[in-house]
Assembly symmetry: C2
Homo-oligomer: 351 residues x 2
């Protein structure tokens, strides 16, 4: 007793480094380089703190109403979590039994494996092709069913989108629940939300976050859209009051300013284009990103060496060791000025 044995042997998820030094150019955790909507400033300044002595709305109706408007669905199709992390851990309780497994592609978001370990169920990887293109997910292994498949699209760290018809065909044949993690969808040419709100859909959930395109990683608000029956199961297992009152008000202000978010996403896409073209002209291999980062293979020196040299120059990017990822760097899209400094630095290093 005392500590559960599954927890004793658990290796926790390692988030990207958060240096406190303000001089650092921070391109390592896919944060947005632009600030969130100024409407948030207004709601924080005018917030009546006396309200805080009361419990918040446990089912966050005002925020759900706004999300339903944005996506053209009903509030019963929407669940909100304290970050996408909580949406995922609630889904792991609601849709996975102790003798079932969670699956995802590999490479993909490395948190998924940790999530399965915390839930104390098996994790089944579906290995992508060498060019990170679609492969049919493994839905059963060693007699254990994958009850929940977590499909990041656009995928991370690869930056690529999968073809919609592949996702759709997989979801419609799959007996488990598929969550399409669309953290980066606002930076992509298309998204899969129509699969979640399609009549007759019984197993496909699309998840979004305010962390990336809405510039609100510090707020912790993720949501998902899916069939009412599945969403209802998620409400049954969530903590009673999982979104605090201030977060509800701030999220609503952000979601009422979609134009602000879209303008920032456009700026990020434009910088992504410039960075991609410039690095390609220097001989780097840069896949056509659909997200707010690129996953690029340097022309002349090993990725890890460049990662270390950039770090010495106060530019933080992300490096994932391993066969499928170790030749590349994941570089978040910064401001134009940050991108200039990155390109200048790489020009010196990548010789």
């Amino acid at each position: 007793m005392r500590i559960a044995s599954s927890v004793e042997k658990l290796t926790p998820y390692t988030p990207g480094e958060q240096p406190q030094d303000v001089d650092v150019i921070k391109l390592n955790t896919n944060e947005n380089p632009y600030p969130p909507s100024p409407k948030i400033k207004e709601v924080l300044s005018s917030f009546d703190i006396d309200k805080l002595r009361r419990y918040p709305d446990p089912v966050f109706n005002a925020v759900r109403k706004r999300i339903a408007e944005i996506h053209g669905c009903e509030i019963d199709n929407i669940f909100i979590g304290n970050g996408s992390d909580e949406v995922l851990s609630v889904a792991a309780k609601a849709f996975v039994q102790n003798d079932e497994a969670i699956g995802s592609f590999d490479p993909s978001y490395s948190l998924y494996k940790t999530l399965a370990a915390i839930r104390d169920v098996k994790f089944v990887s579906s290995f992508l092709n060498a060019d990170y293109s679609w492969t049919d997910p493994v839905i059963s292994k060693d007699g254990i069913d994958v009850a929940l498949f977590l499909l990041t699209n656009p995928n991370a760290p690869t930056s690529l989108s999968f073809p919609k018809e592949k996702i759709k065909a997989f979801a419609s044949s799959y007996k488990g629940v598929v969550i399409i993690d669309e953290a980066y969808a606002d930076f992509a040419d298309e998204n899969m939300m129509d699969l979640a709100i399609a009549p007759g859909n019984e197993n496909t959930i699309v998840m979004r976050t305010l962390s990336k395109s809405y510039s609100l990683a510090g707020l912790r608000l993720g949501y998902c859209v899916g069939p009412k029956e599945l969403i209802e199961a998620m409400y049954k297992v969530k903590d009673s009051y999982n979104i605090d009152m201030i977060a509800q008000v701030v999220a609503l202000a952000a979601l009422e300013d979609v134009e602000w978010m879209k303008a920032n996403a456009e700026r990020v896409r434009a910088t992504r284009r410039r960075l991609t073209d410039e690095l390609r002209s220097r001989g780097w291999d840069v896949p056509e990103s659909q997200s707010n980062f690129i996953f690029a293979k340097p022309a002349k020196r090993p990725a890890q060496e460049i990662f270390n040299k950039l770090r010495e120059n106060h530019i933080f990017v992300r490096y994932f060791p391993g066969e499928a990822t170790g030749e590349r760097l994941r570089i978040s899209i910064g401001t134009e000025e940050e991108t200039n400094r990155l390109l200048d630095c790489l020009l010196k290093l990548d010789k």
Copy 2:
């Protein structure tokens, strides 16, 4: 597949009603009748929203440092959750295996049973005596060990504290983890924090919340203090960034104004004294509360009847049906004015 069978049969926890009507006297969810520290207003107004584009401190060092100062422990002794709810669900992952059980007294906080159901493990009740006094906890049943015992002290809804020597003796003989849920400790004559920070303690965790005495139910911040080894296990299974950046700043402001909290707790205790004495003088049975509510048996009419009549008069209190609780009402301590209106109304009803 799709929805886990344990979730399909799950009955969700029912929080107290949150009427939106401002004319209601709301004495049903043990919220504080006084506002939180005015320092919170300052930090919200001056908050730099540009920071929100970055992820928050995943281990909330500034808040933990302040909590460590308050209780005279180290930051490695402290875990913080998105409300005590999250502290409890993290503990249920960290300290309980699939073949073990969670236990608590009965009557106690009704969420605990739901927590075990969500964790999909057995729940073992230890029934208190008729006067709600201490009974030795059941630590094993039908061959299943209770790995985690949740001990609310002061207890809810009974309002009473257990003797410290009983708690201490139980904890020192118990092989599992005991969490002493001290949500109401700031309204009590004594608390058990010294058990959590005692040298040699290996299994006792004390949990606090900002929801009650700090008037911050809307914020969702609970924390616990305990042995480093257990606290470390909790960090391993929590969501990556479970406390948002604004909540960290607000919590810190509140915790830096302990005097404000203590002054409000004193006012609540004074009103509790007056309400208790007045109801006793009318023949009610009112145990000597150590919390911000009383658990009182009316003199002449059934509790449920008074509950309904109060509701018709826009006064909300809490009624828990059942043999051990059904003769009483749980009434949160309101302002002096709310208490006058409650007493006036009861004078008319309780004849």
